[in-house]
């Protein structure tokens, strides 16, 4: 049977009135939902950023093959011949000792203020640097195979490629997932419990009215809806608070991440909040509605015998 607009108006009015009637419990419910969703939002944004970095890195088919510093020119040429003949190599460029030394000097100069400004390179020349080859692999998927082969060449000291970083990020991301699922799951269960208790109080406060409604022929759902909506209302208010706070936290955190997480070589790419806020809002709406409604449903099943 279709619900009429007037009934919806009555039901909405009642549910909001109910929520404001037992303010303290509603407040507790809203806070706990907010807390769960804020935690969820923070973890979610961390994961989004980690995944974004993985995707950025896996777009880069380049790797750098470092020769041992003590190699003679002939030995370096031998490595170069091997690389040139390798099936995975699409193209490559050579970084000479001198170029590497210049890059290092430039990097140190750029970061002078932060590094303390000492000229640690004075008195050194380029001889301790490695000759390296920047290799473009035909396909990022072959990075690991190619790297293993390059490492087997005599005179190759190390191979750096993005897959290594990806592996680290993947590991971090997996841990973040596990921790967040456990924590958020726990908080959501608590929210469910508190919401259902809030609704229980409303049911209790209105038991006389409910009884009268039953006698004068109100349908079960006409009696139930205000409680369901009260739960959803609490959930959504919690979600809105969480969303605003997460947006604020992220606006503070994003610059810090992009600057201080440069540990992953080439810098940490961050996602703008604008790019994720739509999805996050949808997820928030979904979770808060489901938790709010099921919290009430739980309570109604137990305490509202219509």
């Amino acid at each position: 049977m279709g619900m009429k607009i007037r009934s919806i108006k009555y039901i909405l009015k009642t549910s909001i009135l109910n929520a404001s009637r037992n303010r303290l419990m509603s407040l507790a419910s809203i806070s706990i939902i907010s807390a769960a969703l804020i935690l969820f939002g923070v973890f979610y944004l961390i994961l989004v950023n980690l995944n974004y970095n993985i995707s950025v890195l896996s777009q880069q088919p380049t790797m750098q093959v470092f020769c041992l510093p003590e190699l003679t020119d002939e030995q370096v040429d031998a490595v170069q011949t091997e690389i040139a003949g390798n099936e995975y190599v699409e193209s490559f460029t050579v970084v000479s000792k001198k170029e590497a030394f210049e890059q290092l000097k430039k990097y140190l100069a750029d970061n002078k203020q932060e590094e303390g400004g000492s000229d640690i390179l004075s008195g050194y020349d380029e001889s301790f640097m490695n000759v390296s080859f920047i290799v473009k692999v035909d396909n990022p998927e072959n990075s690991e195979l190619a790297a293993t082969e390059f490492l087997s060449f005599p005179g190759v000291e190390n191979v750096e490629y993005s897959q290594k970083t990806i592996d680290v990020i993947q590991k971090v991301s997996n841990w973040v997932k596990i921790i967040s699922i456990v924590l958020i799951g726990l908080l959501l269960v608590i929210s469910l419990f508190i919401i259902s208790n809030t609704i229980k109080l409303t049911v209790f406060a209105r038991r006389k009215e409910i009884n009268i409604m039953k006698y004068i022929g109100a349908t079960d759902w006409f009696i139930r809806w205000p409680f369901i909506y009260e739960g959803i209302f609490i959930g959504i208010i919690g979600a809105i608070i969480a969303f605003v706070l997460v947006a604020y936290i992220y606006s503070l955190g994003e610059p810090i991440m992009s600057k201080d997480l440069a540990v992953f070589g080439g810098g940490f790419a961050t996602v703008k909040f604008k790019a994720v806020c739509g999805t996050l809002a949808l997820i928030y709406m979904g979770i808060s509605t489901v938790i709010g409604a099921s919290g009430s449903a739980l309570s109604i099943r137990k305490h509202l015998h219509v």
């Binding site: 007037r6 009934s7 009268i212 006698y215 004068i216």
Partner: protein, 235 residues
């Protein structure tokens, strides 16, 4: 309108409240149901409203066969009957008008209809001037009249009153009974469960006496009971 066919009711705790009840109340009737507490009178009313289900037999109310009435149908059964209780059961935070209108709101009536019916119903019980008062501002008799207005606002075919005068002084009791008679004269079937000897005796309406789960007397134009049966019922 109301028919009990060989009805028995046994509660899960083993109490047998009603045994082999056969009863027929026709459209337009006015009937008193009398009996001491524990006689089975309340159970009979609960079966009528489908608050309880029969253990055996069949109850037919307003065309509904209650034994196989689906749970979802119960509200519609109840919309066809008005109910009045000893304790009035008004909502304290709603005005007289709102209390009566509430019965129409829950049946999803259109506002225009509500604005038309509620004043008519209040006029019928003589409370038009108290429409904006709250229940606590009214006397017991007035509160019961509001309850009757609410019971009648959806124009039910059947009005059930459970000890409607139980909380009222004699004067107010008479007012209520007179009102119920008026309602009956307008064509509504009225069933009143009561203890009140003076009223039953004065009205000379149909009397259905219940004791220990059985109908012991069903009499047109009856009295509460002769001295003997009366003492039996109360002892």
């Amino acid at each position: 309108m109301v028919e009990f066919i060989n009805v028995s009711k046994k509660y899960p705790n083993g109490t047998v409240a009603l045994k082999g009840i056969n009863l027929k109340i026709n459209k337009g009737d006015f009937a008193f149901i009398i009996g001491s507490s524990g006689s089975g009178k309340s159970t009979l009313l609960k079966l009528l409203m489908k608050e309880e289900a029969v253990t055996e037999g069949e109850v037919i109310v307003n065309g509904y066969q209650l034994s196989n009435l689906h749970h979802k149908q119960i509200p519609y059964l109840r919309r066809g009957m008005g109910m009045v209780f000893q304790d009035f059961r008004l909502l304290p935070n709603k005005t007289v008008y709102e209390n009566v209108a509430f019965a129409m709101e829950i049946t999803e009536c259109i506002p225009k209809e509500i604005r038309r019916q509620v004043p008519m119903s209040l006029a019928l019980v003589g409370l038009s001037r108290k429409a904006n008062a709250y229940p606590h501002q009214l006397s017991g008799g007035e509160q019961q009249r509001v309850a009757i207005a609410r019971a009648l606002v959806n124009s039910p075919a059947l009005l059930i009153a459970d000890e409607p005068t139980g909380n009222l002084d004699p004067e107010n009791s008479w007012e209520i009974v007179k009102l119920l008679t008026e309602v009956n004269q307008r064509g509504t079937t009225v069933v009143v469960a009561t203890h009140e000897k003076s009223i039953v005796d004065a009205m000379k309406k149909r009397v259905i006496a219940i004791d220990k789960g059985r109908i012991i007397r069903d009499q047109q134009k009856g009295l509460y009971g002769d001295e003997d049966t009366e003492y039996k019922i109360y002892s």
